[in-house]
């Protein structure tokens, strides 16, 4: 390449191309859905898409659609291609892997089906898809696909046949709780915002900041089916009386931002956003705001400050955003997944939704399964499934047949759950009782080679880096706790340090201003609760049972 222009040209060109009709849809009989979400794209699934399209064209198959879709779930085995009509999944498809592509073409042309039968895979069979129903089925950049799959029927039903009160009643009936972490009842939050009076408008905000290490649920949803989130927001706007919405996405998610922006434009063109939605007087406008990737900006008051152009630091509540949010107006703030649950709730009814899940935890939950399991990826399971089913059935057990040690849920403010708790059902109450919490849905599996003190240190390192620095206990306390944990992992800690760590953790949890500081000591508490002997081994015996820490030796 001789000039900068030359170097730039291919990418620029690719970006400017309109959403291509991949193969004439004609009399489509089967389709090949090629994952184009960030995970598979990083393994060149865009080239797979091109290669497959060429082959299908060369083979003269006119009744096959080769489509760009979002996340197919089994991220560990990408690039993935699914043939939904035949229930076949092809994994590890490389753009230059002639055999795999041939097998795909044979399958598509009605010959011997290749790949794996999805119905037989526990990874798929244990899952129930509500939020992810259309992920991997529709082209995320074509609203027509979403409409074909029943998209915007819920919004149309809402604005043409339901009163705002009826919409809220349906959400209340569903038992849906916030998927962003705290699990606050969504119907109750909507009711509060709907009742709040305002002479100059209200706002609906979607929290897509997703900063937990290892979490990629919200990103996948936005990359795979952004329309469903927009539809949920518009329904929320109708229910609470808001005409403007913001989606706050972190800058580290460029693909999600791109697809979201294109989804907004297309929804506006199709009359599902903007003025006179579905031919009624209801109007709802959505804008995207991009965050700079600070974890604390996921905290709702910091997020609102950031949208307003201020520094992203939390403020004391009350007043809650429902009473005084963006520019002092009543503001509804929910998570991506919470909104994505809304269209199915409206379409199929709160009662149907409430029939999935357990007592106080209704519906499904999307998890980003990561760490030492075979099948890492994006999963959606009914609440109440056991950890064991997730780790061993869906997750396929541990990589290399290693021994299970713990699973971490809830991100940096969550906890580590040991083997004894593998049969615990996954719901808000059980997780909280066990000293962890649901969080936004990150789930990291750890094997025997992981040192739990080191894990606590890792999360504390994260919190001290991400503390906004506004309030003292979190700003200085996380740094001091990190120091104590570091000392212990180096074999230089004392029993007195352990006491200090515990009392400091207690103080930080109780006195910090926002959830970041209040939750930061949690990994310490949960590892102390279930793996105290590992702390003591480092302190008393100067050894790391997992063999993960490099100890400085005996001298203190």
């Amino acid at each position: 390449m001789s000039t900068i222009e030359d170097a730039r040209a291919p990418g620029e060109g690719a970006r400017r191309r309109p959403p291509e009709p991949l193969v004439p849809e004609g009399e489509r009989r089967v389709s090949a859905n090629v994952c184009q979400a960030a995970g598979c794209l990083s393994m060149q699934s865009d080239l797979v898409l091109g290669a497959l399209r060429d082959r299908v064209e060369a083979a003269g198959l006119s009744d096959v659609a080769v489509r760009r879709v979002g996340c197919l779930g089994l991220c560990a085995a990408g690039p993935l291609v699914e043939v939904p009509e035949l229930g076949r999944l092809f994994d590890h498809v490389q753009p230059d892997d002639g055999a795999a592509l041939d097998s795909l073409v044979t399958t598509l042309s009605g010959g011997e089906p290749g790949g794996q039968a999805m119905a037989k895979e526990p990874f798929f069979s244990h899952q129930v898809k509500v939020v992810l129903e259309r992920c991997g089925q529709v082209d995320p950049e074509r609203v027509e696909d979403y409409l074909d799959a029943g998209g915007y029927e819920a919004l149309t039903k809402t604005v043409t046949t339901m009163s705002p009160e009826e919409v809220i009643a349906e959400v209340v009936r569903s038992g849906l709780r916030g998927r962003g972490g705290a699990g606050y009842p969504t119907g109750l939050k909507w009711t509060t915002v709907a009742k709040a009076t305002s002479h100059d408008g209200k706002f609906v905000v979607c929290n897509a900041d997703e900063g937990d290490p290892g979490a990629f649920m919200d990103r996948s949803v936005l990359e795979s089916c952004p329309q469903q989130v927009l539809e949920g927001m518009a329904i929320a706007g109708y229910a609470v009386g808001a005409q403007h919405g913001y989606v706050y996405v972190r800058a580290e998610y460029p693909l999600a931002v791109k697809r979201l922006n294109s989804a907004i434009r297309q929804a506006e063109r199709s009359g599902f956003l903007g003025k006179q939605i579905a031919g009624t007087d209801f109007e709802f406008h959505v804008e995207v705001r991009i965050g700079a990737g600070a974890f604390v900006c996921g905290e709702e008051t910091a997020l609102l400050a950031s949208i307003q152009g201020g520094r992203g630091t939390p403020r004391p509540r009350p007043p809650y955003p429902a009473a005084s949010g963006l520019w002092g107006r009543p503001t509804l703030i929910n998570n991506v997944e919470t909104y994505a649950n809304v269209p199915p709730v409206v379409m199929r009814g709160g009662e149907w939704y409430g029939s999935i899940g357990t007592g106080k935890s209704k519906g499904t939950k999307v998890f980003a399964l990561a760490g030492a399991v075979v099948n890492t990826g994006l999963i959606e399971v009914p609440m109440g499934l056991s950890l064991r089913q997730i780790v061993f059935d869906i997750g396929g057990g541990l990589v290399g047949g290693k021994k299970f040690k713990a699973v971490q849920t809830g991100g940096p403010s969550g906890g580590c759950l040991p083997e004894e708790l593998l049969d615990m059902p996954i719901d808000y109450e059980s997780l909280a009782q066990a000293g962890s919490h649901m969080g936004s849905g990150g789930m990291i599996v750890m094997d025997e080679s992981t040192c739990m003190v080191d894990v606590a240190k890792y999360f504390m390192d994260f919190c001290r880096e991400e503390s906004c620095g506004k309030c003292l206990p979190c700003r200085a306390g996380t740094v001091q706790m990190y120091g104590l944990l570091d000392k212990i992992t180096r074999g230089r800690g004392t029993r007195h340090d352990l006491d200090t760590l515990q009392s400091l953790a207690e103080m930080v949890r109780t006195t910090s201003l926002c959830g970041l500081g209040q939750g930061a000591p949690n990994p310490v508490f949960s590892t102390l609760r279930y793996f105290r002997d590992e702390y003591l081994a480092h302190i008393d015996d100067h050894t790391c049972p997992a063999g993960a820490c490099r100890l400085d030796g005996g001298e203190r």
């Binding site: 620095g469 003292l472 200085a476 109780t510």
Partner: protein, 241 residues
């Protein structure tokens, strides 16, 4: 906001305040001492030092008394073993966070941090000092900013914004990297918004902001002048939450 009377009990004493008034402010008026460093009567509240947290009967969590409004029938406890332990720990965290060696500080004997440590009976520190080497900005013709003594209470930020109306100060960075900045990061001496009024220096609880030419222990504040300014300023209704 209507000023309805609210009666409550603080440390066993019946007291009265107005609706919307903070617990801390009612306690101050009633002669009950609650420690605080970010709070200063007349400025808006930020609730960031967390020293003023108190127990409220029927609430499992502690509440920051500077940002919690009084309610009818509330029963507030401002001192307990637990609260005292947390407050001592908070003072320790502050002392260890930057360089607070009183014997060489301009604010020695005129420092609210030092005074609180004495009042709360802080006798020793368990945690190690972090000792970051912070800058000193002496570019202003009359004042000095020594980051080594700054506790990030943001009183200067608020007094400059809310009373003087200049908004010279703000805070940059996060976590322990958070720093007070003037004019988006310019040296103080090059600030085009600073009016050199010195209010920030007067409200600083420690030796972070001081007048040039003062030596160790000479940084006495002319504090009464702030409430006076506040009283004359319509914005300064810090009493109402």
């Amino acid at each position: 906001m209507s000023d309805e009377v609210r009666t409550l009990v603080i440390d066993g004493r019946d007291v009265a305040g107005a609706s919307g008034q903070s617990i801390l402010s009612v306690a101050e008026e009633s002669g009950v001492f609650i420690p605080a460093l970010c709070h200063l009567a007349g400025l808006s509240e930020v609730g960031s030092c967390r020293l003023c947290m108190v127990e409220v009967e029927g609430t499992a969590r502690l509440v920051a008394s500077c940002v919690t409004a009084v309610e009818e029938g509330m029963k507030v406890t401002t001192t307990s073993e637990r609260l005292l332990a947390y407050r001592r720990r908070a003072i320790e965290l502050l002392f260890m966070e930057r360089n607070h060696v009183c014997s060489v500080c301009v604010a020695d004997n005129h420092c609210e941090l030092q005074e609180l440590a004495k009042t709360l009976g802080v006798t020793h520190f368990e945690l190690p000092p972090l000792h970051p080497a912070c800058d000193v900005d002496a570019t202003h013709e009359r004042f000095v900013l020594d980051h080594n003594r700054c506790i990030l209470c943001a009183r200067c930020v608020r007094v400059c914004d809310e009373i003087e109306g200049a908004h010279t100060w703000d805070i940059r960075g996060r976590g322990t990297g958070a720093r007070l900045i003037s004019d988006l990061g310019k040296p103080w001496g090059e600030s085009t918004t600073c009016t050199s009024c010195g209010k920030c220096v007067q409200v600083c609880p420690t030796g972070a902001l001081y007048e040039k030419g003062r030596s160790v222990a000479e940084g006495k504040r002319h504090r009464p002048y702030v409430p006076f300014l506040v009283a004359t300023n319509a914005l300064g209704t810090g009493r109402q939450l």
